[in-house]
Symmetry: C5
Subunit: 401 residues, 5 copies
């Protein structure tokens, strides 16, 4: 997950129907292979709590930030045992152990055992498809899952899992990505002036949850820009199939985003309901703020969903408008020329003035013999055209509306 693509300041290139849209087949799928589906497939019928590494996982990298109000150290460990030793030797300090990448089953099991994590929870961590939730081991230890979102350059919402275990003096996080959206938290610790240094490890967990939640807004902003780009296209009359696919696809993504945020809100609400000896009141104040943000994110998603639904209406109406336009051209040209064709056909008839018997049929198309027959006819034809044009103009069919 790179935060650059989701920067709303970087203008999103308008989706272009001619260009391939990033997928190999050059087309957009309304439904696409769900990561959840894939992830689940491999563990059907497995013993619960069986640890399994998702194929494509990254090799784990271990980062440790240790701090107290006077101390700060940040480094990457290439040896887990050294990290563990440091943590154990400094029980009075607080530690943020950040594991990025899962692709080392024995290491994962060792961490699980060293930190006393439940196999089912470790399964949730590695499965990488868990909804936001909170679980309580005992007074000092919580397990939280957050989902970090991103709007990719393929105009899809990407979401990654951040698993947070809190202990008395440590926070242990897992994610399957080397880049993340947590850098602002690290910077606040590095600055040496953050609340994080003063409050318990639960506050660090809050800060992580909060920064993930805050990151929903750039995602939403990118979606908003994309929806607007689509709307511009539609407003200018684009009605190709690809456009509708795009609208329906982003609609589905917005709905999925909303489904990501709902459990986030419920998770925070559950934290707020925890007894005070687990989550003290002075930390709950901060979670309450989180709660407001989660609701605002849901409101925003709801609002986008409605915009997109309106786009579908606009698209359909455009299609209908196009048909109207096509029909109007047909009708105007046919209505003008078909009667004219009849008239000129009339005078193409071969009724004979001379009777075979020698007489003259004066009633058989005398117009053809009139010296001004042709000019008068041309005048009549022009009159017909003018009358019809006036009629169509009055109906408003000649204006481009």
């Amino acid at each position: 997950m790179t935060s650059s693509t989701s920067d709303p300041a970087v203008s999103i290139p308008l989706p272009d129907a001619d260009a391939t849209n990033g997928s190999a087949e050059g087309r957009i799928r309304v439904s696409d292979r769900d990561a959840t589906r894939q992830a689940h497939m491999q563990s059907v019928g497995q013993r619960p709590g069986t640890l399994q590494i998702h194929p494509g996982s990254l090799n784990p990298r271990l980062f440790l930030i240790s701090y107290d109000e006077d101390f700060f150290q940040e480094r990457e460990y290439f040896d887990y045992d050294a990290l563990l030793a440091f943590v154990r030797e400094n029980p009075e300090r607080r530690h943020w152990i950040d594991v990025r990448g899962y692709n080392d089953l024995p290491l994962m099991e060792q961490i699980m055992n060293d930190f006393g994590l439940h196999p089912l929870q470790m399964e949730d961590v590695l499965g990488d498809y868990q909804r936001a939730k909170v679980e309580i081991f005992d007074k000092n230890r919580l397990f939280m899952v957050s989902r970090m979102t991103d709007f990719t350059s393929q105009w899809e919402i990407d979401d990654d899992q951040l698993s947070i275990f809190t202990g008395p003096n440590y926070v242990l996080t897992f994610q399957d990505d080397y880049d993340d959206c947590l850098e602002p938290v690290r910077n606040r610790i590095r600055s040496g002036m953050s609340h994080i240094l003063r409050y318990s490890s639960l506050y660090l967990a809050y800060a992580l949850t909060d920064v993930v939640l805050d990151h929903y807004y750039p995602t939403m902003a990118a979606i908003g820009d994309y929806v607007e780009a689509l709307e511009d296209r539609i407003f200018h009359g684009r009605t190709d199939r690809r456009m509708l696919s795009r609208i329906l696809h982003i609609k589905k993504d917005i709905v999925r985003f909303r489904r990501l945020v709902y459990p986030e809100r419920d998770k925070i609400a559950e934290i707020l309901r925890l007894p005070d000896d687990i989550v003290p009141d002075d930390i709950k104040v901060f979670y309450k703020d989180c709660y407001d943000h989660a609701i605002q994110a849901m409101d925003l998603a709801e609002s986008y969903r409605e915009s997109v639904t309106s786009l579908v209406d606009l698209f359909m109406s455009n299609q209908s408008n196009r048909m109207n336009e096509v029909m109007k051209v047909l009708t105007i040209i046919s209505s003008i020329f078909i009667p004219l064709s009849f008239v000129v056909g009339l005078y193409g008839m071969n009724f004979q003035r001379e009777n075979p018997n020698g007489g003259i049929n004066y009633l058989n198309m005398p117009e053809l013999y009139h010296p001004l027959g042709y000019p008068i006819l041309i005048g009549v034809l022009l009159l017909i055209v003018i009358v019809q044009l006036v009629y169509f103009y009055r109906k408003g069919w000649l204006t481009n509306n």
Copy 2:
């Protein structure tokens, strides 16, 4: 926010498809850059409680109304310390400190500290995108957020935040606008006869909440007028793309309005559930009245939403009707003249009466040699036209329905 534009007595000029619609690009957006989105963007990853001034904020102006049952003073202070001193020197009086404009961070922080506001709440105040809510510090102190709405001359709902802090003998309000909809409350205080003078500062907070709620009705009325103007247009057959954009846009706004009012209702319900020692029964009676108003506003919004949904149906049906009309013209003209063209084409054929061998083919188009051939044909053609017109008339295609 100026209350003049929302005055329903001033007739709203009908939206005109030809005129630009007030936005620079001269077009209507179904989805538009959300203020919330913008506001959130700048604080992603910030330490919670970090105060930040929204760009475009106004320079703060400080207004103080001090009163008790015998005393009244109203003035604008250009020096915050003088204001604070006056408030502190008159603890037996009640004070309404009205801060308009946020663009002075040190001043905001000073106010926060002097009045003991929580940084997270101050962040809510300055962020300017908080849903209606109520929070309780302690027995005497509440923090309420209301959203003031307005229907702009661009036919959009504009909403501003009013933040209200109540203390034992003061009410502290924040808003980022010099004009507001609170003037009626000031007039009631000025009149010297209001309940506000007799009840506690909580009653003033109620009066402010109530006047904001009351102001929803002119907003709704303006929306209603606009919806009716749109309906008139549609009823007269307008089917241009811009019309549908407008309908969908106002629909989105109405839904947003409803989402503004829901938390308002919930806020009041929460106040009604507060224990009596925080909100006494004689003040709850007034909040109960507020509650009824909030529900009525929601009902009204719901009713408008339905009207607008009906407009979409009407619009779509109009589009279909137009197509029907176009098709009918095409069908009537084609049906009449194509057969006629065939007949005249028939007598334009060159079948030869004289056999090259000298004989006469009496069966080859004898009509052409009949003395009355042409007049009879004209008669037949007229008959065909009349039969068809009768047929179409019977079908009701000739009437303008």
Copy 3:
């Protein structure tokens, strides 16, 4: 409110698209100026509890029915003080004071003070747009609001407010209409044999609530008749714009009706939950019956809403059918005559048999020189027509379906 128009026995004249539909502009509005909106507008920013007379209110008339098991007196008082005196002098009797029309502010204030009504409640009474609700002063005194409905000859649901205050030995009702739907209750009192004479004043309040609820059924019946009339029209193929407006309008009205009944049900449910010393069990039995009726009315409204939604589908399908029909006529006529025109055009060509050089081009249209050329061609043309007619008949395009 006159009960005659809502009598289902009187057949509702079918709405006629040609006739004006009762409104001055001769057209139907999907959204129309809401009374609620109007009513609220004038009191924006007013002190709560400020009494205001709705413009267009009637001049008040005062009616008193006094009764106990042995006594009955019914008269209209033109002097409020006389009425009040009679009520005060007969504390052992029960009194129903019926105030019709609000247009006398001092009188309203006097009644409010004499009967100890709360200004906010009096404001609700005079505002005339309050949802159904119940409020309790103290053990003996309730304030209930019911909404009386009527289906007007303009095919709109009209609703008026009935405000009921109960006291130990009196019931005080307010309504802004001289005619009402309460006559059956008066008749039951007049008959001298009603429960009303035996039970407390709360039973009279019940009887009034019940008769209002019962009156929902004729309203519904009238709506039902109207919906059926619309359906008949649509079934016979009417697709004019006005028809859709009517459908959408009555749909909105039905939804509004449902929103009227919901609070009615909630009001009764709240009464049922009141403690037994306020509403005794033997009276709750009757309210429980009311509750069932309210739910049935909601069911009925729900059912009508669905019927009307179906009508929209039918209407849209009709529009599509009409287009189909128009297209079929065009297609049949074009498909038959355009090929024929080609054929006759073919033999109108001037390919020359005689070569300018003197030779004879035997291949240039020898058909024209065949003695039976013309009759054979006529045969061929007929064959083409017959083949096509058979084809269209098989496709079912010639039948009127």
Copy 4:
């Protein structure tokens, strides 16, 4: 209510658009005069608890089944007093008194008084439009309402009311139909081996409730068959107006059915929540089974509703398909013959080879004088036709899709 028509084994004749559909006017109504509406109309403003016989009620017939574990007697009484005497003389036996038909007001009042029924409940019985519900008098006496459904040969859901009063040793049922769906319960009693003989009268009430619930399934099956018949028609391309009316009508009926079952479920849930001394645990087990059945019936109704909604989509798509087909025929024929007509018209022009001045205009239509002019032209015309046919074939317009 006859159970034969709802037998799913009897194949339902497919609805035929040509045949009248059983109603006098030969057309289907989406909304039809509701029995509830009718029933309510006559009692507007009536004293609550006023007994009224619904016009069209049957003359009452009285059936008594008396039994205990050793005794069984079943007969029809033509004299109510004899029945009552027998019941009173046999207090140790259990009795099922089955009243069919209400049309004898004095008898109904006598039964009400003899069995101590509340007038409001008796009103519910005779009104015949009460939703399913349960009410408790005292420990031994319950009042339950069930609704028995049937799918008539008019393809409508018919529902009748079964009112059940339970007493210490009797069950008193009311219904306004001589035939009913309760025969299986009677047979189980007659068989002498049923639980009914061993358990209290509450078990008989359960058995009656259960058999009514079970009877929902044949009703649903008949609806299902009908929906499938409609689907077959639509699948074969039927798009007449009548078809859509039918779909919308059965949709409304299914929704109504669901609304019948919801209160049934709620009724049973309420019985399950009753204290054990009123409904013992060993009987609750059976009601729990009922509860599962009610939920399954609702699921089934929900599933049918969705099928019918899909049918509307199919129908609309069919209409659109038909239009497509019509348009394709028009387009193919026009596209082929209009250009051909142009070509033959071209060579029907009269440009003169001979200059009036005597010269020869060699450029004026030399084709006409070419010896192979006509055969070459025929070849060109054929080529045009072939090219177009290939084009249309490639577009897939010639296949019947």
Copy 5:
């Protein structure tokens, strides 16, 4: 139920409109005869708890797996008594008695009596249409129902019932299928290392519930593949009726799947709420994991439902697009050739240059006598064509969009 067809690795053959789709009549039904409906039909009015074998049931086969931490035995018994004897003789071991097939009523009754099952529950087992639920006999004994799903090669969701009874030392399961999805659980027992060997029989019940839930994912994956196959077809412009039938059919199936999972979730939630002495905390941890899975399955189903709804939109838009395309061809060809036909008709008129009186009408179609008349006309015709093509090209009608 065979697990092979639901293996997502096996690519699902794309549904082909030409091929028959597996049903005898060669067509897809949106609504199909519901198994539930069938199953219920035969027991209408039956005594509750009457055991009945569903026609088409398999002959029962009895499998026993007995185990403790040191012992393992798995065999099929052909003699129920021998099985029962073995279970009774080994009370210290745990037993999983797996009954597959119901078609032996006396055997079923014997099992019911031997294991003390309630007749109503046995009825649920044999009825085979029970929603997921849990019921508690007493501390040690639970009755659970799960529904096993499969996506058949007919592209339909098939669901079978798994009934689980737990006892102190046994688990008794019923299913009407010889193949099942429980093999992974058997393998875990066979491996000798499972938790199942260590925990109580309730854990085995959990393992069975969990494996059924896990099996939902392959079913969902198969549905997902099918939806994508449909989407590909639609994206490539397929608009035949059969395609819409398929979409609506799978939509209905997805909704049905969701309705299968909801009760599953509720069942697990109910188990989680059971007191600790019935379901100990260390087993609840596992059920909590199940709960998360159930919610994820519901989310997935919800997501598919939305995809399918989008497909309907795409399909409808495709239909409209096709019509647009047809109309454009018609309009382009007509607009070009109809005016041309008029022009050539014009010069096919027979206005006479020679006056019958001998004079020359110089104004009667002098163009015909111009030496370059014909070439100039051809030029004019070409110009008309070119102008029109440019016009249509500018409108974008010539590109395939």
